[in-house]
Amino acid sequence: MILVFVEVRDGKVKKSSLEALSEGKRRADDLKQEANAVLVGHNLESLATEVLPYGASKVYVVENSLLSNYSAAGFAQALFSLVGEIKPEVILFSASSMGKDLAPRLAAKLGVSLASDCTRTIVKDGKLEVLRPIFAGKAFVTLSFKSSPIMATLRPNVFPLIDPGEKKGEVVKKEVVIPEDKIKAPVLEILREEGAEIDVTEAEIVVSGGRGMKGPENFDLLRDLTSLLPHSAVGASRSAVDAGWIDHQHQVGQTGKTVSPNLYVAFGISGAIQHLAGMSSSKFIVAVNKDPEASIFKVADFGVVGDLFQVIPHLKEELKKLASE
């Protein structure tokens, strides 16, 4: 059985978890096994049925009132009890903030190794292997596992969702007993940056600005563009972040976030190696830069040599036209 942890944030099932479940289902089919999902928390039953169409034969709902707020230690304890009972061969997570925090804690509890942030899963000789980037995508390794269960986290926005089918599976409720002292470092509250609806790692379109943006106020030009593009977010180069024009949350690159959206648009970004490391796995890259020699053009599918301040107003017009068609 392949078990996939499905994360709930703000009362919603996280899309990247459904991507992980979709991938789990594909590999489960190859291995002639079941794919199952697990939700952890409190009062989740209604959400569990939303997960069923994504390939889960069973959706386990592990509940305890102590789990209403996330804590890695508490959630790992809850998953550990379930894993002991249902004994999956493979456990997958999304490499989201929660997945990256929780999966290693569970792996240590189970005494197994973990492959982080994988971008492909493969069945070889009847066993699961994974491909993952190292050095922010400057190289890739294929990893095979010598410990069981196999554990991996999967990078968001890489694995396609399966077409939601019928809700054929079943929801299985599990009450777990968790001693209160197992809840360590619980989340007290979530502080949200205003206007930051979608994170760059989750957006389907990322519109980024660099030093060529010239100042913080000009990032509004990019915010305007994202308001015309569905599921989009504003990104930035480190130079723009270091200049204080935009928060570090938006930094794309080797010491920022690694993104792989359908479309990455770079305005006034030169294409330094550290920046490329964070975005070259994007499906399409478009760049606007006034320097025809800029390195960003070496990776761009479509490049415009020109002044971004002149191009953006026309882009807005064209996008509005397209939307009204």
Partner: protein, 260 residues
């Protein structure tokens, strides 16, 4: 307050990564190694806590003697003492192995601590595993990807970065913290610091000192292949009047790329 900071040496982010396809490893020749930038935030935070409330900052790295350089840097920044735990096995990508080694070192040699500091991930392996695993093995609270930290007595609160937001977390000491950019601005080493660091000895520990057997820490992940990313083909680059350029760009995105 006793703080142990775990630091690792990584190739600097400018590095072009070349692969030895015969051995399936990275060619280290010609790489310029530096202190993992996230570990630098961890060292800085430890020094600030000591400056505010007293105590001791100990820095530990697991690796070959090449790692002495980054330990010297930590001493020059102001760490009280630094240790190298000698590990000559090639890198393994196995966070579990590193966590087991670190846990044993803590139990045998550094059991008197209030906080354990890490980087949120080592640049390169990009695993982000070791801190959570160490926390689990020691039964400690963990707060990863921390951008703000406050300690009062035996209690702490921290902000940890998540998608588009921050989680405010409370915990009790001892605890495991992993540092994210934004936590602080690391200091530069002063000349005085560098001179002092030169005089300090960096004791070396071995696996025998920790009664650690190779089989206890055998890697459980195997690299079966290492490859370069498929090169990205450069596409079309146009140089036209802004209006025409914008039109062509949107046409391309809509008709050819089909992403909007």
């Amino acid at each position: 307050m006793n703080i142990v900071v775990f630091v690792k040496r990584i190739p600097d982010t400018e590095s072009k990564i070349r692969i030895n396809h015969e051995t399936g490893t990275i060619i280290e020749e010609g790489l310029n190694f530096v202190l993992n930038p996230y570990d630098e935030f961890a060292v800085e935070e430890a020094l600030r806590l000591r400056e505010a409330g007293g105590g001791k900052v100990t820095v530990l790295s697991v690796g070959g003697e090449e790692s002495l350089v980054i330990l010297k840097k930590c001493l020059a920044m102001g760490a009280d003492e630094a240790f190298l735990l000698k590990d000559n096995t090639p890198e393994t990508y196995d966070g579990l192995r590193m966590a087991k080694i670190i846990v044993r070192a803590l139990e045998k040699k550094f059991s008197d601590y209030n906080l354990l500091f890490f980087g949120k991930q080592s640049v390169g392996a990009d695993n982000a595993q070791v801190p959570s695993m160490v926390a689990e093995f020691l039964g400690l609270p963990q707060v990863n990807v921390v951008t703000k930290l406050e300690i009062e007595g035996t209690k702490g609160t921290a902000h940890r970065e998540i998608e588009g937001a921050l989680e405010k977390v409370s915990f009790s000491l001892p605890a495991v913290i992993s540092a994210q950019k934004g936590l602080n601005e690391p200091r530069y080493e002063t000349l005085k610091g560098i001179m002092m660091a030169k005089k300090k000895e960096i004791p070396m520990l071995t696996f025998e000192d920790l009664e650690l057997n190779e089989e206890d820490i055998a890697p459980l992940l195997e690299v079966t292949k290492m490859e370069s990313p498929p090169p990205r083909q450069a596409g079309k680059v146009i140089q036209e009047e802004p209006e025409a350029a914008a039109k062509k760009m949107v046409e391309y995105l809509h008709n050819e790329a089909k992403v909007i």
